[in-house]
Every structure is written in C-alpha cells, then in structure tokens.
C-alpha cells in the first residue's frame, strides 16, 4: 500500500460509519482527519487544510451544506463530496447551488466505490 500525498477530512456523525471510512481510506494510503459535526468540521478544515472533504449532510450543530458554505467562504479550496442517506432533492439542489459538488447516497454505494469516486475527484489513478 503506497502512501498517497493527499489529506482527506471526513465529517460524519455516525461513529460506526466514520470509523469504517477512516479505516478504509487509511488502508488506501490517504492521510485522514475527522470531525463529528459541522462546527468541528469548519475548524478542522481550517487547521488541517485537507485536499478533499467527504461529508454527511445531516449533521448536529451545523449541517453539511452550511459547513461547506462556510469553508468555501473562508477561501479554502478543498473539494467537497457529500455523503448522505437522504434522497431529499431540496437538500441536493441547495447543495448544487454551492457549485460543482458531488453527492453520493450512502446506502446505494459500496465503500470501495466511494474510494474510487474520491480518487477520481482528486485526479488520481
């Protein structure tokens, strides 16, 4: 497993899923930082300056969309990919307003596919 020189920030309030993603991405060679709610997500993004942010939409304290807006406003150029279990088109459409954003539906996708998507987004492989 080669080390990949990319940092991923995973923001997810479900401890199990967060752990799964963390293990997977670490095993793929990424360096991973995590946050469990929107506010922490903003501060960790500021501190760690990740290359890509993989985030849930429904988060405590501040939802993923708001968090993404705040991060973008602060000039952070990180790519953002949303992971969600909701199929609410309203949420997705408001996410689209933030520009070129991807979203993946957690229950419809496998972990390895998430990794592939992230790698594609980062222009790797």
């Amino acid at each position: 497993m080669e080390k990949i020189d990319k940092k991923i920030l995973i923001v997810e309030d479900d401890a199990d899923f967060l752990s799964i993603l963390q293990i997977k991405f670490t095993s793929e060679g990424f360096s991973v930082v995590t946050a469990e709610n929107g506010e922490d997500g903003v501060s960790v993004a500021e501190k760690e300056k990740p290359d890509l942010i993989l985030s849930d939409v429904l988060l405590p304290q501040m939802n993923g969309i708001e968090m993404a807006e705040k991060i973008k406003k602060s000039g952070n150029g990180a790519l953002i990919v949303f992971l969600t279990n909701i199929k609410d088109t309203e949420h997705i459409n408001s996410a689209r307003k933030l520009g070129n954003l991807d979203y993946l539906i957690k229950s419809d996708i496998r972990i390895s596919d998430i990794v592939d998507k992230v790698k594609a987004k980062l222009g790797l492989k």
Binding site: F17, I20, K24, S27, T89, S107, D108, I111
Partner: protein, 384 residues
C-alpha cells in the same frame, strides 16, 4: 268640492279606502262594522263613506236652503226628489266601490298570506342550509384531520426508513472492509459467509429503499429525477441477460423481437431499470413451462414494450386492481411461488407513470398466461 266620479277614480287597487272604522261619522250613525274599512287608518278625508255622507249633507243643506227660498210644493218636491236621487246614486256608487275595495282587500289578504308563507318557507330553507353547511364543515374538518394523519403517518414512515438505512450502511461497510482484507486474510469459508451476510444486507437495503420510494410516492413527493438522452438499449440488454440466465435454469424459452435502432429517452435510469426489471422478473418467475416472448418497438414518439408469458395468468377480476398498493397476490401465486411482497407492481407502475408512460396487463384468465404492455414517451417530460 269633488264630485262622485272623481272619488271613484281615486280608488286604486290595493289602496286603503272605503270606510274608516274610526270615522266619527260612521261610528255616529253606527255604520255596520262588516262594511267598515279594515285597514284604512287614514284621516277623515280618506273615508269615502264620510265623504259621501258629507257631500250628501252639504247637497241636502244647499237644496233645503234653496228650497226655503222657493215657494211652492212642486219646487219642494223637486228638491226632495233630487235629494233622493243623490242618495240612491250614492248608495249604488257606494256599493260598487265597496265591492272593488273588498275584492282588493281579499287580494291583499291573500298576498299577505302568501308573503307570510314564503317567509316561513324561506326561514325553513335558511335553517336547512345552515344545517347542511354545519354538517359539511364537520365532514370537511374530519377529512382534513384524516389527511393530516395520513401525512403524519407517511412522514413517520420516512423517518423510520431513513434511520433503518444508517446501521445497514455500516453493516455493508464492515463487510466490505472484511472482504477487502483490511483486517487480514480470511479463510475461504469465512469469506463465503461474509459474502452471504452481505447479500442479505443488500437485499434488506433494497427493500428499505423500495418502501421509502413508495412512501414518497404516497406523500406526493418527487421520487424520480429525469435525465436527458438515456440510452434504453443497454438497459434492456442487461435486463434480458439476467432473465435469460434465470429462464435457462427453469428450462423456459426467451424469444426477443427488437429493432436495430437504438432509442434515447428522458429517464431516471436506475429507477426505470428497476421498474422494468420487476415486470420482466415476474414474467420469468410465474412461468413454469413454455416461455417468454419480448417485443420492443418504436412507434412514432413512443417506445412500446410487450412481455408475453405462458405462466399462471391473471384472473379477469384481478386485472383492475393489479397495480394497486393493496393488491394481494392470487392464492395460486402465493402457494406455488415463494417470493414476492406484492409491492413490486405498484412501485413499477408508479415509476413508469412518473416517466409519463403507461403500463397495463392482459390475460385470458388463470392458467392462460399474461401479457404486460409498457409504453414510454421518447420525450419523457420535464427534466431537472
């Protein structure tokens, strides 16, 4: 002084007139009450009787005064005759006037009675209307309450379904990690078991997703998102490949007639594929012998699909509610064919309808096979 002819003209239909019951002259000579005016409450000068009497008296007085000035019995006789003539004329005038006024009076009374009846009727109608309106409001409220309850139920279902997906997703994730060797190598036996575990979890997730779609349809929410120019060909290829595999296992044939031309429509690919898959699956599932014939063609602006099977068929009385959410599988189906939740057709039909398409089935009856028809417009409709 008015003459009698003028007085007669003054009586208009329905106007008060004739004898003022309070007329002091009428009371003085005790004029019969039945002849007195019932509703003339006006003053002395309206009273015709009094007028008549007054005129007569004035005439008499004048004549008597004149006669006093005239000598001779003949003159006096003449004067008395004139007086008599006046009285007689006045009486007949009186009489005919009385008839007119009494007729007017009767008419007026009838009119009043009719008005009262109308008013009563109107009152009754108003009361009834109020009652009906009240009952309607009660029913309307009840209906609104039911609709609210239904929405609450559906929202609750959606919340439950969303929450079900969270642990399911983690289960799939852990299985993935195990199988990808992240936690070290596993024996084939263990990895086979994990694969079975994953298959069950996948089917559970699929079930939850389907129930969620149904609830969203029920809530009237948008379930599909149409994309332009989706190629139907590979979709059909995949579906047909799957059912050919299944059919081979069962020893039934699959015959396909399809055009060479490809077809692009506006569609929500995964959902449409799932809906079509369901129908094709059913055809194979419910056929024990014989086989399936599939016809695809492009008819103008419509893609037409026909799936004919030689399976258990559908009883005529079941054809009507085939695509309803409450549709139960037939006894035959439940007895001889294990799987089937009975929601597949409802969901498939909702998805096809959401694509502005049509779906229906025909069957000669139980045991005589069935044919499903699906039509999809090439220009599927609104695209997001």
């Amino acid at each position: 002084m008015e003459n009698v002819g003028e007085l007669r003209k003054e009586i208009k239909i329905g106007e008060p007139g004739y004898v003022n019951k309070n007329c002091w002259l009428a009371r003085t000579i005790n004029y019969p009450p039945s002849k007195r005016c019932q509703y003339c409450e006006s003053k002395f000068q309206h009273c015709l009787f009094s007028r008549y009497l007054l005129i007569s008296l004035v005439l008499v007085a004048s004549l008597l005064s004149v006669s006093m000035l005239v000598e001779g019995g003949i003159s006096r006789l003449l004067i008395i005759s004139i007086f008599a003539l006046v009285i007689v004329y006045g009486y007949f005038f009186d009489k005919s006037t009385e008839d007119i006024v009494e007729a007017n009076f009767a008419q007026r009374k009838a009119k009043e009675a009719l008005e009262e009846l109308t008013e009563n009727l109107q009152q009754k109608v108003d009361e009834q209307t109020k009652e009906i309106r009240r009952a309607y409001e009660v029913e309307k409220k009840a209906k609104e309450q039911l609709e609210t309850l239904n929405d609450v139920k559906n929202q609750f279902l959606m919340t439950v379904q969303h929450h079900l997906r969270t642990p399911l997703t983690s289960m799939m994730g852990y299985a993935d990690l195990l199988l990808s060797g992240t936690f070290g190598k596993m024996s084939k036996k263990v990895s086979d078991i994990i694969k079975k575990f994953q298959a069950s979890t996948t089917s559970l997730i699929k079930m939850v997703n389907e129930f969620l779609d149904i609830t969203q349809f029920q809530l009237g929410k948008e379930v599909i998102s149409l994309k332009e120019n989706v190629n139907l060909c590979p979709i059909f290829k995949d579906i047909i490949k799957d059912i050919e595999l299944e059919a081979e296992k069962k020893g039934i044939y699959v015959r396909i007639e399809k055009p060479e031309a490809t077809c692009f429509i506006n569609a929500d690919e995964p959902k449409l594929k799932a809906a079509l898959m369901n129908i094709f699956d059913n055809a194979v599932k419910y056929t024990k012998q014989g086989g399936i014939t599939i016809k695809l063609r492009l008819d103008g602006e419509t893609v037409k699909v026909e799936i004919k099977d030689t399976g258990i068929g559908i009883p005529k009385e079941r054809l009507a509610n085939l695509f309803d959410i409450t549709f139960e599988r037939t006894e035959e189906a439940k007895k001889n064919f294990a799987t089937g939740r009975g929601i597949g057709l409802y969901l498939a039909s909702q998805i096809i309808k959401a694509h502005n398409g049509k779906i229906w089935a025909e069957s000669e009856g139980a045991g005589k096979g069935s044919t499903f028809f699906i039509e999809l417009p090439v220009d599927g409709g609104v695209v997001h």
